[in-house]
Amino acid sequence: MNLINSLPRKKGTLIAFCLLLLVLPWMISSGFQSGSSYLRALDMALLFIMLALGLNIVVGYAGLLDFGYIAFYAVGAYTYALLNSPHLQAMLPSWMMYPPFVVSIVICAIVACVFGIMLGAPTLKLRGDYLAIVTLGFGQIVRIFMTNLDRPINLTNGPQGINNILPPQFLGYNLGKPIEWFGLQFEPVHLFYYLILFFCALIIVVSIRLQNSRLGRAWVAIREDEIAANAMGINTRNVKLLAFAMGATFGGVSGALFASLQGFISPESFILMESIMVLSMVVLGGMGHIPGVILGAIIVSITPEVLRDVINPLQMAVVGRKVVDPETLRMLIFGAAMIIVMLVRPEGLWPSKRRRAELRPATKGIALQEKDDLQDAERNHD
């Protein structure tokens, strides 16, 4: 609510920020030598923001620990790929192939949502870490099927993945080819940037609206105290399932965009590590706080890319030769950074005011307060 109410006051900043977002790809592609690879990283960062916001509904709002979140991303990506590549052309009826872009996205969202419900319905009564490990198992199962469903029927094309995925086309434009507007050459990376930015903004708006709704409050209530939420007449099972389904839907949309951006997909992109990355975006940024989660997603997805470019020159400068494999070193630094950030700021880099209050040692928890008050009461009786 605060965010929306304060918008008029911050309108100027917001407009400036939007303009910055619009010109950002041009600044990047002309400002750096490896501009277009940075731009790709930026596109990926936007996708990760969408994923992190989806997981944030599940973990941040409803407090359900999901380790298999990337499975929904995979489901979205594979659904998009199968509908928009020649891979299944021989098997599927022709009216199913190459649906309009928006229809594809909606189908992917629905399929992922159904997967979310299928996983959630039997498992959501599990608590905490048990749910975590079951979702982890689910993520693995999805990945194993992706890798192996190339026989007896070649559905996923196994480890090679699916190629030749058609780029999105709408209003007569093909996003896979450069387009010239107003004398400016828009490369596909630029076009995708705007496309993903649009969906990203959409998901942010949806997240905010959900958060400030009756359902958002029910999610937080369940996270805070499930028994009390029950006693307030919340159908906790259905409401949790809804969180799962929403998270899965977000994941499915991001997956579809990912497939359309890449043009090919393989099981490699959907390993457990990716689930863990998305989870760390949510936690490092600040669970349940939309700006924090966005920040977390940007940092976690961009840092390894930046490190990739920084490490080799740095090694050359310091030691004079290539001592360690840069890929290894950058992951090592990344892992260490995760530990350090959590040790210094366990509540995340940009937590909501609420979370900060929760962790401030000066604030008494209810139990403590109860004790104090009991003592007060005794004193009064004397």
């Binding site: 949806v206 609206r209 959900l210 400030n212 709704s213 009756r214 359902l215 958002g216 409050r217 029910a218 937080v220 209530a221 805070e224 105290d225 028994i227 009390a228 939420a229 029950n230 006693a231 307030m232 007449g233 919340i234 159908n235 906790t236 809804l242 929403m246 609420r354 979370r355 209050a357 929760e358 604030t363 008494k364 928890g365 209810i366 307060q369 109860e370 104090d372 008050d373 009991l374 007060d376 009461a377 009064n380 009786h381």
Partner: protein
Amino acid sequence: MTKVLLEISGIHKRFGGLHALNDVALTINQGEIYGLIGPNGAGKTTLFNVLTGLYQPDEGKFTFNGKDLFCQKPYIVVGSGIARTFQNIRLFANMSALENVMVGRHVRTKASVFGAIFRPPQVKNEEAAIRARAMELLEYVGIPHHAEELACNLSYGDQRRLEIARALATDPQLLALDEPAAGMNPKETEDLKELMQKIRNDGVTILLIEHDVKLMMGLCDRIAVLDYGKKIAEGRPEEVKSNPRVIEAYLGVAPE
């Protein structure tokens, strides 16, 4: 002729070998304050959890307002008009006081996911009504100035009040309070008593567990006494007070 609001009979609840509730029957009439007392471990809270749907009884009958609530899920029970508070306060600690009460409106509102995302006028109106009603209830229990504070930062007495406001937000016909005066000083207890009388005068029936016998005697219309999972007495406070079985249960010896 008083109208029976809640009626249970033959309720049994076992936890492994422990027979926590043994053939308990009671009726609560519309508009009364009904007290439930008994020594520690007598099964008061278990009965409370059965009545509010958190525990499923093993056998028995449970009707409320003409509706069969035996073994129903809590959200059905709350929807039928029974709301509760907890002995060891269970607020949503990191939500504001206002938000806590707004959660209580959940069961009386119906905006769906699509409503939340697209915000049509009726959802906007509903949201505004939730907020207005929640604010009204905070005023009703006397803590409107704490609306924006986190529940965990309220004083103990105010937390108790907030829990009552949250329960009232579900528009109950029966409000079940589990030891609301525990840990309060005499002044706070007196204020609480007034609040409960006000709630009753506004047409909500109250079921009350409390250890403060003085409070119970002065407040309740009828009292039931539980001991070892059985109801050993029921009646007006003065009848219960002089019942030899009650005295035995509390003092451990039968009076000569």
